[in-house]
């Protein structure tokens, strides 16, 4: 709760940003900063020399739903991606080898393709007590990530877990789950979403191949190609929003007519994702289309914002407080104070007012030599 009190720097520090990053944020007036292109030059080279770019897919603290989403891709279909486009050399979910043999695949790929493989990461990295909350082959997630990232040509963070820590980073983040961009010094392409849309995932990896350069990123490392618009600005229910026609209760008449879900807590207005345009499962639909508001699953810390509230609970004033309970209370208290004051004044200041009444006013003409004429403006005068 503390990290939400007004100091933005404090909040950032609590979230693990460095002073330098803070200055960066403050200094960049236009957010469309993008990443250094130079870091990607070698990826392009790698593609030119290898028939299929080698890919390492790591799993840390996650639910494997990003992998599941990936295999739902319809264009390109995932079989083509796995067998014709990429060489998916290490992926615990699909690879034939296990244990030692699996570890060998990882090692081989990294050694034979130093600086030329793409690293895809699913899941966050827990920092609690040297990484005891996630080990693979006896090694901590952090150690594996650092090693794999060191010689990777490009790094992609799949899903909200790798990009923002997702559910395990929700309060009180018991395992100290950390997004990967905070742990490695190289540029990371964040592909948030819980999970990301299948075609967005295959789109991001094939963008590199088709256009020979990485997708342009926004200030938070997300490909603009998929994350530049709010769900709300592309939502097919938007006309209802602008018309002020809202669903008020689940499955009410308005719901059956597909009115806007804003009042049911829809987070479309604060969520950047391609859901309303690219849509899910081969363009078939997205949460709002099936009657549930967007829960903001591609946004940082969306778990702590409440699924069904328009705005997050207001911290520090008890769990039920919203911004408006706090504001309303302040206003009522103020108004009461004012009322009281008015009553007090009319008693205690009565004499003053009466004295004033007794003073008849005599506006004197300006006396020569004295101060400046009262009705002239003091042009260059100091405030003193």
């Amino acid at each position: 709760m503390e990290n939400q009190v007004p100091s933005i720097w404090g909040a950032m520090k609590a979230k693990g940003y460095s002073r330098r990053e803070f200055m960066y944020f403050c200094g960049v007036a236009i957010a469309a900063a993008g990443l250094e292109r130079s870091g990607f030059g070698q990826v392009v080279n790698a593609f030119e020399t290898k028939p299929r770019p080698p890919v390492v897919w790591l799993h840390f603290q996650e639910c494997t739903c990003c992998s599941e989403s990936f295999i739902r891709s319809s264009h390109p279909i995932v079989a083509d991606v796995i067998f014709d486009t990429l060489s998916l050399d290490y992926t615990e979910t699909l690879q034939a080898a296990a244990g030692t043999q699996a570890e060998k695949s990882l090692k081989d790929t990294m050694e034979k393709n130093k600086g030329k493989y793409i690293l895809l990461v699913e899941g966050s990295v827990p920092l609690l007590e040297d990484g005891i909350c996630c080990t693979i082959g006896g090694r901590s997630a952090l150690e594996i990530l650092k090693e794999a990232a060191a010689d990777a040509a490009a790094i992609v963070a799949w899903g909200n877990c790798a990009s923002h820590g997702c559910i395990q980073a929700a309060k009180p983040n018991p395992t100290q789950a950390t997004p990967i961009s905070k742990l490695i010094k190289k540029p990371v392409i964040n592909v948030p979403g819980c999970p990301p849309i299948a075609e967005v995932m295959t789109g991001v990896v094939t963008h590199l191949l088709i256009f020979g350069k990485p997708p342009e990123l926004d200030s938070r490392g997300r490909p603009k190609e998929f994350y530049s618009r709010r769900v709300h600005d592309t939502c097919y229910r938007r006309p209802f929003y602008d018309a002020g026609l809202f669903v008020e209760n689940w499955d009410d008449d308005a719901a059956r007519k597909g009115y806007c879900l804003y009042k049911m807590g829809c987070k479309g207005p604060t969520t950047y994702n391609a859901c309303a345009v690219t849509k899910w499962n081969q363009g078939l639909g997205y949460p709002i289309q099936a009657g549930h508001g967007c829960i903001g699953c591609s946004e940082e810390a969306f778990w702590d914002q409440g699924l069904y509230e328009r705005l997050p609970k207001f911290p520090g004033f008890g769990i039920e407080s919203t911004a408006d309970t706090v504001g309303r209370t302040a206003t009522v208290v103020t108004a009461a104070g004012v009322g009281l004051h008015a009553i007090m004044s009319s008693i205690r200041k009565r004499k003053v007012i009466e004295e004033n009444m007794d003073e008849s006013v005599n506006i004197n003409p300006p006396k020569p030599g004295s101060a400046m004429p009262a009705d002239s403006v003091d042009e260059g005068g100091d405030a003193s």
């Binding site: 957010a31 006309p239 809202f246 950047y272 005599n362 100091d382």
Partner: protein
């Protein structure tokens, strides 16, 4: 009525025309912003028709909010400029207490206004320094609203002005948190307005120096014996 004493007063031109214009543009835009902002936060059910093509009221609410937002912002910029070229009452230095007597005055006003002790010394011609402090505080809230408001606006606009403020969004951890703070800050204006309007009337009544009319016509009255002390 008791015997009337005749005291010499002078007229003082306190609030220049630009300041007055600023004040009312500011007051009106803030009221509009708060009302429309509140509606954006909690849209009321106005069941005018069933079909979205027949109405656009919520769109207009938002339009008014954004339009008022622009006016509010440029008006504020102008006021900052005027605080360097305007008269002594409009100057920056009378809003940022930096000298001992300014703080003393704020303290004194606090006693007079809240504890309702009897006024000692002279009544300020411009605003008192307690008011100055609240205006200064409010100024920062205004800036905050501008930054967060335009920061949010950047997400739905390709215009350059909002984009100048887009940096606030990642800094605060996403649009949802920015909206949260933008929303809570609205209440600062509501609270301020309640106190401010009340105190304006209060001072007008208690002091009888034309506090209210001054913000319309610019003139206040000052007792001759207090002038230039």
């Amino acid at each position: 009525m008791a015997t009337a004493t005749t005291l010499p007063y002078r007229r003082v031109y306190v609030w220049e025309l630009p300041v007055r214009v600023f004040h009312w543009v500011n007051a009106i835009s803030i009221v509009l912003l708060a009302v429309t902002g509140f509606l954006i936060g909690w849209p009321q059910t106005i069941w005018m028709s069933d079909e979205p093509y027949q109405q656009y009221w919520f769109g207009w609410v938002r339009f008014i909010h954004f339009a008022a937002g622009y006016i509010f912002f440029f008006n504020l910029l102008f006021r900052v400029y005027w605080s360097f070229v305007g008269n002594e009452y409009a100057r920056w230095s009378s809003y940022i207490p930096h000298r001992k007597e300014q703080f003393l005055n704020a303290w004194e006003t606090l006693k007079v206004d809240i504890l309702q002790t009897k006024e000692k010394g002279k009544i300020s011609v411009g605003h008192n320094y307690l008011a100055a402090l609240t205006y200064l505080g409010l100024f920062f809230v205004m800036l905050f609203q501008v930054v967060t408001g335009f920061g949010l606006y950047a997400g739905m606009s390709d215009a350059w002005l909002p984009w100048l403020f887009a940096w606030i969004v990642p800094l605060m951890g996403g649009d949802a948190w920015v909206r949260q703070w933008h929303h809570i800050a609205m209440w600062a204006f509501v609270v301020f307005t309640v106190i401010h309007v009340y105190l304006s009337f209060y001072h007008d009544v208690v002091e009888g120096r034309g506090t209210i009319s001054a913000i319309v016509g610019g003139w206040k009255f000052e007792r001759d014996d207090e002038f230039d002390k």
